[in-house]
Symmetry: C2
Subunit: 337 residues, 2 copies
């Protein structure tokens, strides 16, 4: 018995597929020769725009369905070999609607695992998050896979989000133990890249900075700018997802973060420069009512374990990834205009 | 506005009331002059035996209902002033039925908070657990309220249980922030005492030891006996629940643990001695298939914050509490026989 699931010639379903990571991974799997990729989404958060580049692909099938309805998933996974579980409410949505968020992030994962089991899928890749290390002043230093979950000083929605990801990971463990369903958990750091959306609290820094600079306004830095962020480029994650299917690994959880962390000040300066501006950032206080995910000390999300377990290293440096994102945003504006 | 809710003259509902802690707290609240105590339970885990001593009390009302049905809770809480939320699946049940356990521990809490909000209750006391500090070899030293959640090396059901308690606490925070519903979270350590049940993985040590010794068999110690357990006597917890209602405190989470921790070897020797036996314990390995909650280093669950916040200190030493439990068990056997 091997837990390696080659992409070429096999069928995959991406739950929450009409998304930043979903659309990039669909393209990655199709390029690698997948027999079929099923994009399963209810389009409540996923968008038609996110998958526009895939429309009409002969091996792509789009299924409108809801992860809260088990029959939808049971049917969508028929004949599939692997499933990538992306559907989730992130912190901002969890703040707006904790009931819906808990449902999607827990019941939705239960349904997806049950549908995978019932359809005898060979492997599941579950999109977890560095949110399993929590938030607040105690999150610092090297965040490795055994780092505990910190919650003191974090807003309820962020703690709820992190706790649901912990639960999702454990549900994977539980399904493997009971039913032998192989899985790899990837703990994504904040994703950015082409087809960027506006739902991730951390990724907002990029889009907000760009919008201000393009409008001729000085970019804003919240706090003193020394706060750490650790992003990962969407194309790197798509590759990580593919490699997680193809690797022998099972029953493991590894970080999938970008090459290195940045401070918010570095990030704002980088986006400003790439947007062709020399505006100086403006330091502002925290905005009341906005969910900002703050950490105290400097941290780095270690991705060395992912190399050992699935052979993956992130390749795209922040500057290059931002260049691609900005080019995509500019291209879209040009099209819209 | 005060968050203090005097017990005398007010009405209380205990969700999951037909339980070890629920029945003791009902008696505590009635003795303190509560106008009414509503014991809400679906009797799936709660038992008639647990509340036999309360039957016929003029200010006690027993309501059969299910925390998974919001209307049941909406009706049960009508006219109430305070609610104690106890209904939960613990680790052993979470292991048997993770779907049911997640439902009760998350959806059940959402329903209880929503019913409390809708009925304009003044205060909620939520029964959390030291499980929010997790399990495994990294749980050691002083466990204070800011200790993070460790999960490496723990079985899925234990991690799921702890994560649901983290979520329950955050739901309380969220309801206070949105709707002004006052609450106190008490993080119980393992409870023991009269009307002890067999559902808590840690408390099983007591009952199992007693049963073996009474049957003339040597008591068993799993591992080398140096493992730490930190119990709290049920009467002390009933008092903590009452004091949490009566205190000014709101929007806080504090530990409610017994006077001091014991090792499993100390515990087994204590129970053996109190049972009137001088049998020497037998050291055995771990039993496969049994969910054992192991920790690596010695730990102590600090309860000093509870003194500061609600004025509570545990009073009953383990030896005295065990004496009362054994007397109760013997009395019950005598009755049954």
């Amino acid at each position: 018995m091997t837990a390696a699931l080659p992409v070429a010639g096999n069928r995959f379903v991406i739950v929450g597929g009409a998304s930043l990571v979903g659309s990039a991974t669909a393209a990655e799997l199709l390029d690698a020769g997948a027999a079929e990729v099923v994009l399963f989404d209810n389009f409540s958060m996923g968008s038609e725009q996110a998958i526009a580049h895939l429309r009409g692909h002969p091996r792509l099938r789009i299924v409108r369905g809801d992860a809260l309805r088990l029959p939808d998933l049971l049917r969508a996974m028929e004949g599939c070999d692997g499933a990538l579980l992306l559907a989730a409410s992130m912190t901002l949505n969890m703040d707006r609607d904790p009931w819906g968020g808990l449902d999607v992030n827990i019941r939705g994962v239960q349904h997806a695992l049950e549908a995978a089991r019932a359809n005898r899928l060979r492997k599941v890749v579950f999109a977890s998050s560095n949110a399993v290390y929590g938030y607040g002043p105690n999150v610092m230093g090297e965040l490795v896979e055994s780092t505990p979950f910190h919650s003191v000083g974090a807003p309820p929605a962020a703690v709820l989000y992190g706790a649901t990801k912990i639960i999702g990971e454990q549900l994977c463990r539980d399904y493997r133990r009971r039913f032998g369903l192989d899985y790899v958990v990837l703990r994504y750091s904040t994703v950015y890249g082409e087809r960027q959306h506006n739902r991730a609290a951390n990724a907002l820094y990029i889009v907000e900075t760009l919008e201000r600079v393009r409008g001729g306004e000085r970019p804003q830095v919240h706090g003193d700018g020394s706060e750490t962020k650790h992003f990962v480029y969407v194309g790197d994650l798509a590759r990580a997802n593919r490699m997680a299917f193809e690797a022998e690994a099972s029953d493991v959880a590894v970080n999938a973060s970008g090459p290195r962390p940045v401070t918010t000040l570095e990030l704002v300066r980088m986006v400003t420069r790439l947007a062709g501006s020399d505006l100086e950032p403006e330091f502002v206080g925290d905005t009341p009512g906005k969910v900002r995910l703050t950490s105290g000390g400097a941290f780095r999300i270690a991705h060395e374990e992912a190399l050992r377990v699935i052979g993956w290293v992130p390749e795209v440096e922040m500057e290059e990834g931002l260049r691609r994102l900005i080019a995509w945003l500019d291209g879209n504006e040009a099209k819209a205009g």
